[in-house]
Symmetry: C2
Subunit: 223 residues, 2 copies
DNA sequence: GTTAGACTGTAACATTTGTTACAAATTACG
DNA sequence: CGTAATTTGTAACAAATGTTACAGTCTAAC
């Protein structure tokens, strides 16, 4: 059976439909259909398989203490469920997974997926790239939270931009985007930038920032 | 050549010295020695290989804008360098890596390591477990930072403890540990817990917390 | 060029959290 | 038990950030 949607999956990058078909036929896999609203997995349940959404749409949702649920994210074809934690020690679903509409899921046991990876260099490489990129993204995000003040986050952000060593960088996003990235509000960020300019740490011209006091800037993220 | 220290590495879990020896001999690998203070890798440099510390000790350090360096972490045998981002898209060293003392490193090209994983189910499985656990840890940490107030973090923490559905949980760490986990100060956490008790959300008896107002608690982490 | 929409600067005030310090309570251990 | 060490509760004050609101500036599309 062929699943054209899979060739767009990061887990099967660079493989054609027929190749994927051939690879899948060498291991066990199954297709399951879920009707709208059906429960696909419960939070806390052990993860046994790689599950890829082939058609339809599913959502991850969490129940709060009163039992009310709130949506965390939608998962659309050709995304997979909890792919980043699949092989973690005692991996469990972090959320409930519910079908948004009639959906078709491809299910491959973890051990079959291991066989698949061992048998094809591209499948192995794709999964490793996927998960390493995820880890990279997460640890980058976490780094910013380790600076407790907005000044610290902004100073560190500036120093991470290309050209920081030259003492002149160009900010590549709006303040709104930047404030969301830092997890603060936009006016607070604007205030802090203004303060840093008044304190003589930087000079700002539109999106261009010059570093005036390297020592002072560095101190902001070394507490 | 045998490297007894590798059998303690999470990347070669469950393998004996002779097995590791045999596996390594099937691929290319090399050993390099670095003297105290020698530069092993520079921040921003592309990652070509898996590098495992066999003996000695190395450190990751970052240079600030003034050129002064600060230590980020020590990496001791049998840990590996940047193992979690190794296969990421355009993976680069996030920090400078310097030898703390005379050290011996095992170096395996990424493609050789791929071969190694494809050839042995345990090696593959170990690396996947390692990196998925890392991703799990990181996303767990990041989740807490998405709650902006201490009350939100604490309420969410409470709701994640075993037995939360019964309305009675036992906190498994000291306030000091918890405050570090949340990234806040200990007195601030204590104050917030006191406030939540006064507001009738919870009742606290030593390490045991009862939920008195599920709706109110849930609201704290749904803004 | 003009205009609508987005982006930025700024202010006053409220809220949250940090800081510091000390006392009370609990726990570990002899 | 009884003592020392750790953990917790609390207070007063300082600092940082959020909230809200509004005006000025830039930008893209017409």
């Amino acid at each position: 059976m062929r699943f054209p949607v899979l060739s767009n999956s990061p887990l099967f990058r660079g493989l054609g439909d027929e190749e994927i078909e051939k690879l899948l036929e060498a291991v066990n896999y199954r297709i399951r259909f879920f009707h709208t609203g059906a429960v696909i997995a419960l939070a806390g349940e052990e993860i046994h398989s790689l599950i890829i959404v082939l058609s339809g749409s599913v959502r991850g949702e969490m129940a709060d203490l009163t039992g009310r649920t709130m949506k965390i994210e939608d998962i659309n074809p050709p995304q997979a469920l909890a792919a980043a934690v699949l092989f973690g020690a005692g991996a469990r679903y972090p959320v409930n997974v519910i079908a948004n509409c009639d959906s078709e899921l491809l299910i491959i046991n973890k051990s079959d997926y291991l066989t698949l990876m061992a048998g094809d260099r591209r499948v192995l490489s794709s999964y490793l790239t996927f998960i390493c990129s995820k880890a990279q993204f997460l640890s980058g995000r976490l780094r910013f939270h380790s600076f407790h003040t907005i000044k610290g986050k902004f100073a560190h952000y500036l120093s991470s931009l290309p050209g920081a060593t030259s003492g002149r960088v160009v900010i590549d996003r709006t303040q709104q985007e930047l404030s969301e990235y830092f997890g603060v509000t936009r006016p607070s960020l604007a205030r802090v930038i203004g303060e840093m300019e008044h304190e003589g740490l930087i000079s700002v011209d539109h999106r261009e920032v010059r570093f005036l006091d390297l020592k002072g800037l560095s101190q902001l993220y070394e507490g």
